[in-house]
Every structure is written in C-alpha cells, then in structure tokens.
Symmetry: C2
Subunit: 122 residues, 2 copies
C-alpha cells in the first residue's frame, strides 16, 4: 500500500530577499525603502550585516502617532528571527505567538540573508 508521508517544508524554500537599513538611517529613508521595495518589514543591521533590530510600517505609523522622528526611537531591538533549516510550521508558530507577520532569516553568524512573512506561508 502507498505510504502517506507529509513533506516537511523548510524556510530555505520560501524565504525572499530582505531589504535592510542601518540605525543611522532616517525614518524618511526607511519609509521610501518600504514603498520602493513593496515590503513592510526592514531588518536593521550593523556594519557587518548582523541583525540588530527591525523596523516596520507599523513602527513608522507609531512614530507618526507619537511624534517620534528618529529611527532609533521606533526600532524594535529584540528581534524574533528564523534560519534556513527551520521547518515552516515552527516559523509560523513564532509569528502567531508573538503577533508578528515576518521573521528575518539569519545565518550562523547572525547575518541577514533573507526574510519570510506570513503571506509566504499561506
């Protein structure tokens, strides 16, 4: 008889390119990046491309609502991320538990190599 095995998918097969920024960039620069690349989530990286934060259109909206105009004031510094080897179900659960809709993908050195959002998993 034929065996019914469910194929496990990993982040490697669904991730997209990430568009990143630095902490010294302005909010307007990030806003322009968001609309130019049609992406809501911009990982923040240091000079070695290592993940140090994330800023999203939600954060820019928050900046507008609360009158904050420096990127440093709206960046989320405790980032929830994923890796190429993670099963997509684990990544999906991370998003649901934390009420977020995207995860930067990092390599073993914590460098940003991509991003995956809820839309990529549905």
């Amino acid at each position: 008889p034929m065996k019914m095995t469910k194929e496990i998918k990993f982040i490697r097969s669904v991730k997209r390119d990430a568009f990143t920024c630095k902490l010294e960039d302005g909010i307007k620069y990030v806003a322009n990046l968001i609309i130019k690349e049609s992406t809501n989530h911009v990982p923040v990286v240091d000079n070695n491309n290592k993940l140090i934060g994330i800023v999203t259109s939600f954060d820019i909206t928050k900046g507008l609502a609360l009158g904050k105009n420096k990127l440093d004031e709206i960046v989320t510094k405790k980032v929830i991320y994923t890796t190429c080897d993670e099963p997509i179900e684990i990544a999906a659960r991370k998003m649901k538990i934390n009420k977020i809709s995207a995860l930067p993908v990092v390599d073993k050195e914590n460098k940003v190599i991509g991003i995956v959002s809820a839309e990529d998993l549905i």
Copy 2:
C-alpha cells in the same frame, strides 16, 4: 476502512473584529487607531458601515514618504474582500495574487463585519 477527509475551513471561523474609519478622518486619527488596536489594516466605511476603501500602515508610510497628509490621498479604493462563506484557501489565494496581507469581511449588503489577515491563516 477509515476515510481520510480533509476538513474545509471557512472565513467565518477565523475572522476577527475590524476597526474601521471614515474618509473624513485624519491620517493621525487612523495612525492612532492602528497602534491602539495593534492592527495594520483599517477598512474605510461610509455612514452605513459599507466598505468603500482600505488604509494600512503601508499607506501611512507612503503618505510620509510622498508628503501626502490627507487620508483621501492614501486610501486604496478598489478593495479586495471576502465573506463568511468563503473557504480559507480561496481567501489565501486572493492575498497571494494581489500581494496583500488582509481582507475585510463583508456581509450581503457589503457592510464590514470583520477582517482576516495572513497571520490568521498560517
């Protein structure tokens, strides 16, 4: 032998409350609504609660980038929506094809009765 039937899920079982606004509201009002209710997608309704547009944190970010400060200038008027009876796979496909991450849920009179986002479907 036991039959393997895949249960079909409908939007009715996954939708959440929507927080809406009117065209005459200000961008700052909508920005505050977005962060207060922790939601990125705000359907725009008329005086009868009928769907006439949608504005998201992406649109507010676009407004900031392009110097637009009226809500009417950043609202998306051609809205892709769903209904309670739609299977979630159809809703998911609508999101993927249009590169959007949420759909307002409307009743037979086109009144907004909820919203569903990609995070609710993963």
